[in-house]
Symmetry: C2
Subunit: 213 residues, 2 copies
C-alpha cells in the first residue's frame, strides 16, 4: 500500500491535497442547507458534514468555515436561528454541485439553478422541493474549533418531513428508495445500493441479517 505522511501532505499541490484529504474519510452525507436572511434573501448550499449527534434530544451537527465557504449559510442561521437540511437526489446533483460556486451575498442559488424553494405551513425558511427527506432545524449552540478556525454548529431537529414510501415500520428511512446520493470527496456523486441490514449485535453471536416479516 502507498503510505503518504503528514510531511508529504503539507508539501502537496493544493488541488491534490484537497482531493486526497476530502476523500480519505469515507463516503459523506450529501445535503442542501437552505436559509433565509433577516431581509428575506434565500440561500442554498451543499454540505457534506451533517452528522447525527444523539436521539434524546434529537441533535445534529455540521461544520462551517465562516471566513471562506458558505458564508451566507452561517450569517443567515445566526440571524434567524433556523435552517433546513434537504437530502440530494440523483436528479439534483448538477444543481446541488453548482451551489458551491462562490456567489456574492444577496444572490440566491435558487435563482441560479433549477432547485426550487418549497414552503411549509408555519415555517418561514425554504426547503428544497423534491427532496425526499427534509429536516427543519433550530440552532442550539456553536463550538469554535480553534485548531483550524472552523465552527461546529449544533442544532435540534424540530420537524422531519419524508416521503412515506421510505419509512420502514421500525422507523428506519431507507434512503435508496428516494434515490438519495452520497459524496466521495468534494465532487464525486454516488448512488448507494442496499447490501444488507443487520439485527442489533449480540455478544458471541455472528451478525444476523434483518428479515422482513
Amino acid at each position: 500500500m502507498k503510505n503518504i505522511s503528514k510531511e508529504t501532505i503539507l508539501q502537496m499541490d493544493k488541488v491534490e491535497k484537497l482531493n486526497l484529504i476530502n476523500s480519505c474519510t469515507g463516503f459523506k452525507s450529501a445535503n442542501l442547507i437552505a436559509t433565509k436572511s433577516i431581509e428575506g434573501n434565500t440561500n442554498v448550499a451543499i454540505f457534506s458534514s451533517v452528522t447525527h449527534l444523539g436521539n434524546s434530544p434529537s441533535l445534529i451537527g455540521f461544520i462551517v468555515r465562516p471566513t471562506t465557504s458558505p458564508i451566507n449559510t452561517y450569517k443567515n442561521i445566526m440571524e434567524t436561528g433556523y435552517f433546513t437540511i434537504n437530502h440530494i437526489t440523483l436528479d439534483m446533483i448538477a444543481d446541488a454541485h453548482h451551489t458551491s460556486a462562490n456567489y456574492e451575498s444577496g444572490i440566491s442559488e435558487f435563482d441560479k439553478t433549477n432547485l426550487e424553494e418549497e414552503y411549509k405551513e408555519g415555517i418561514n425558511i425554504p426547503f428544497v422541493k423534491g427532496s425526499p427527506v427534509q429536516l427543519y432545524c433550530k440552532f442550539v449552540n456553536e463550538y469554535n474549533i480553534k485548531e483550524n478556525g472552523s465552527i461546529h454548529i449544533i442544532a435540534s431537529i424540530e420537524n422531519i418531513f419524508f416521503e412515506e414510501a421510505l419509512k420502514h415500520k421500525d422507523g428506519w428511512l431507507r434512503l435508496d428508495k428516494g434515490n438519495v446520493v452520497t459524496l466521495n470527496g468534494t465532487d464525486g456523486y454516488f448512488l448507494p445500493k442496499l447490501i444488507n441490514r443487520f439485527l442489533y449485535a449480540e455478544l458471541d453471536t455472528p451478525s444476523k441479517s434483518f428479515r422482513e416479516e
Copy 2:
C-alpha cells in the same frame, strides 16, 4: 409528505426513534476505529461520524459518547494519544457490525470476529487488515458537547495508507474501486456506485462533468 414533529419524536418508541433519527441525516461514513490500551489490549469498533474538518492542517473529527458506546475507544485514545481509521469493505460488513456488540473492557473485538490486526513499521497501534484506506491519527483536542454529553474528538492525520488503484492522478481516492461501503442508519450497509464527478463550480455556468484525459 409525512411530517413528524419534535414533540411526536419525544414520545416515540425507543427503537423507532433510534432508527428514524439515525437515518434522517443521510448516508454516513463507515469506519472501524482501532486502538490499543496502555497495557496492550487492542480494540476495534464501528463509527459512522468521522468527518473531514480541514486540509491545512489535515484534521478529522468524530463523536464519542463515553458513558455508553465504545467506551474503550475513548479510554485507549486518551491513554496513548493515537488511533487508526479503517474503511469498511463489502466483505467485512458482518464482522464490522459485530464490533458494536457490548463486549466488556479487556476483550478485543479482533478476537471475536474475523477482522485481523495489521501492524505497520514504526506504529504501535493496529490497523484493520484488508481495509483499502487506513489513516493513522493523533489526538489533538476534544470538545464536550454539553447539549447531550457527547464528545467531539479532533485529530490530525499523520499518515494515509491506501491501495494505489484507488488514487486518481489529481489526488482523489475513488472509494468504489475498494468496495468501500456506506451506512444508512445504524444497521443498513450500502455499496455506492459512481454516477458523476463534476469540475469546480464556476459562477453562472452549469456544472460540467469531469472528463478523463
